[in-house]
């Protein structure tokens, strides 16, 4: 479990990043973070990662205060997929990026089979010898996701993974998120894509003006109109239509199809 208490960060130029955010994130749950541009979403997760050192508050991971731990120490527990993939790519081929993520493993056989599995599930097999900068943004994002899969940490944080992705990329990502859920990982994602969140994420936190203005289940957020509208968000199509047509709230395709099976 991650317990965040009164976390605040301001940048050296006095700019507010986040202000007094507290939240508990249970293990093996999924949390989506939404909110306007510049509200502090990326700052918040950079604090979790250790890239930014919060001036106030604490981050407690499995009963241990990790404020003092370096990025490297935290990276044993937390995997991270950046918003801009170019910030994170540095090897000269895609395969080398994946291998770098697997470098701590000892068993060579295991490494070889992992490389193949990861390339396959990220649809990168045929691009393996390409330079990471020579593929599309969607593919660059999958390289990072592949690396996170290789690192195999308990917690995975993704900053707007669906942005700039085509619809097939989003479907692929959906499969990976479902796989991570089955593996009992804790998934934290920043996104504006409510359709994706609705389908795959259990909990949501809304950040506005650097503060947490809502935390709870995504379903509850959909039930109270005032919640999503605070962040200028609209209900996802699936929720809006199910409410309008049948006065029942569906947030996933499975529920939607069930709804139309009932007599």
């Amino acid at each position: 479990m991650i317990k965040i208490e009164h976390l605040s960060y301001h940048y050296s130029n006095g700019e507010q990043g986040i202000n007094d955010i507290s939240i508990e994130i249970n293990s093996s749950t999924s949390l989506a973070i939404i909110g306007p541009n510049g509200s502090g979403k990326s700052t918040f997760i950079k604090c979790l990662m250790g890239i930014l050192k919060p001036q106030r508050g604490s981050i407690i991971l499995n009963n241990q205060n990790i404020n003092k731990l370096s990025i490297t120490q935290r990276s044993q527990h937390i995997g991270f997929v950046f918003q801009d993939p170019k910030e994170q790519l540095f090897k000269s081929t895609i395969e080398q990026e994946i291998r770098f993520a697997l470098r701590k493993r000892k068993d060579q056989k295991d490494i070889e089979s992992q490389v193949e599995t990861i390339l396959e599930c990220c649809s990168l097999t045929s691009h393996r010898s390409k330079h990471p900068y020579d593929v599309s943004i969607t593919q660059q994002k999958f390289i990072l996701i592949g690396c996170a899969l290789g690192m195999n940490q308990d917690i995975i944080i993704m900053d707007e993974p669906t942005s700039g992705m085509d619809y097939k990329g989003i479907k692929q990502l959906a499969k990976i998120v479902e796989f991570l859920k089955k593996e009992k990982k804790t998934i934290i994602m920043v996104s504006h894509d409510l359709d994706f969140i609705s389908e795959h994420f259990e909990n949501v936190m809304i950040i506005n003006h650097h503060q947490c203005i809502y935390q709870g289940t995504f379903k509850d957020a959909c039930r109270d109109e005032t919640v999503l509208s605070q962040g200028e968000y609209k209900l996802p199509d699936i929720a809006r239509l199910s409410l309008m047509a049948k006065h029942q709230l569906c947030t996933t395709h499975q529920e939607w199809i069930e709804l139309w099976k009932k007599r």
Partner: protein
């Protein structure tokens, strides 16, 4: 007022074996709003570059066919002339911004200085765009202190400030929150009313369909289909094309078969009333 045309246009980047665009025939009339959609690697950005003249002025390669602006081939224009008429907003804001300026105000002014506007004119334009995009709280900030979503709005500002006749936007909403997206929709709607020729390359098609006069589906470098939104999606549904459909259309097609695209809640509810519950 500006009309853009590509005829029998093909392009291959220098050093590459394959043509990224193959035999493209496309006419973008003055005042027309065009949406270009397709998977990654379909050639959308390259098509944007070709319409802007970045190909062949910046990226070299093998080019077949013709690019025309107002019936004159691109080769008759200098790159600077094209820059004044055709604005291009890059997919990644870091590509767009000069990053040599220490405030956003300077960054916006730089755009105007770059094409030779006088100081007075520059000030006037920057002021107008700051008001239009609601950036007043950000203008004295250094771009490196902003979020990617904010930078994307600024990048758009550096183009809008030049008030070009043609506007090509490559995934301008990928990092934007819903409010900023809606604002962009309103700007584009105003610009369309002013007669601007607008070309939008987007995966977020739903936010903009209402404005679209002409839809172009690209697949592997060729035009798969083009026409009005209704026509293209109706044809696509009838032959079961595996493409990205508008989200309501995709959602409804999970429970019933559709012969035309569903683009708004009213049409969706009408269809849903007719859906018989089944086991």
């Amino acid at each position: 007022m500006a009309q853009l045309e590509l005829s029998n246009f093909s392009f291959r980047y220098q050093g590459s074996q394959d043509y990224v665009l193959k035999d493209i025939n496309l006419t973008l009339k003055s005042g027309q709003f065009t949406l270009i959609n397709g998977l990654d690697g379909a050639g959308k950005t390259t098509l944007g570059y070709a319409l802007k003249g970045i190909i062949p002025h910046v990226f070299e390669g093998t080019l077949l066919g013709e690019q025309r602006l107002n019936h004159k081939v691109f080769q008759e224009y200098t790159h600077q002339e094209l820059t004044k008429i055709i604005g291009y907003c890059f997919q990644n804001p870091w590509t767009q911004l000069s990053m040599i300026k220490s405030t956003l105000e300077e960054e916006l002014s730089f755009s105007c200085e770059n094409v030779g506007y006088a100081l007075e004119e520059t000030r006037f334009r920057v002021k107008a765009i700051v008001r239009l995009l609601d950036l007043s709280h950000l203008i004295h900030k250094n771009p490196i202190h902003l979020s990617l979503g904010q930078l994307q709005t600024i990048a758009l500002g550096t183009i809008l400030v030049l008030d070009p006749d043609v506007l090509i936007l490559d995934e301008p909403t990928s990092q934007l929150d819903p409010l900023t997206r809606r604002r962009l929709f309103n700007h584009l709607s105003d610009l369309k009313k002013q007669g601007k020729t607008i070309i939008l390359i987007e995966h977020n098609i739903d936010d903009f369909l209402e404005l679209v006069d002409h839809l172009v589906l690209l697949e592997k470098g060729s035009i798969l289909d083009q026409g009005s939104v209704i026509d293209v999606y109706t044809r696509s549904l009838s032959i079961g094309r595996d493409i990205q459909y508008p989200s309501l259309t995709a959602l409804l097609s999970t429970i019933t078969s559709l012969d035309k695209p569903i683009l708004n809640d009213n049409d969706a509810l009408t269809i849903l009333k007719g859906v018989k519950s089944h086991d």
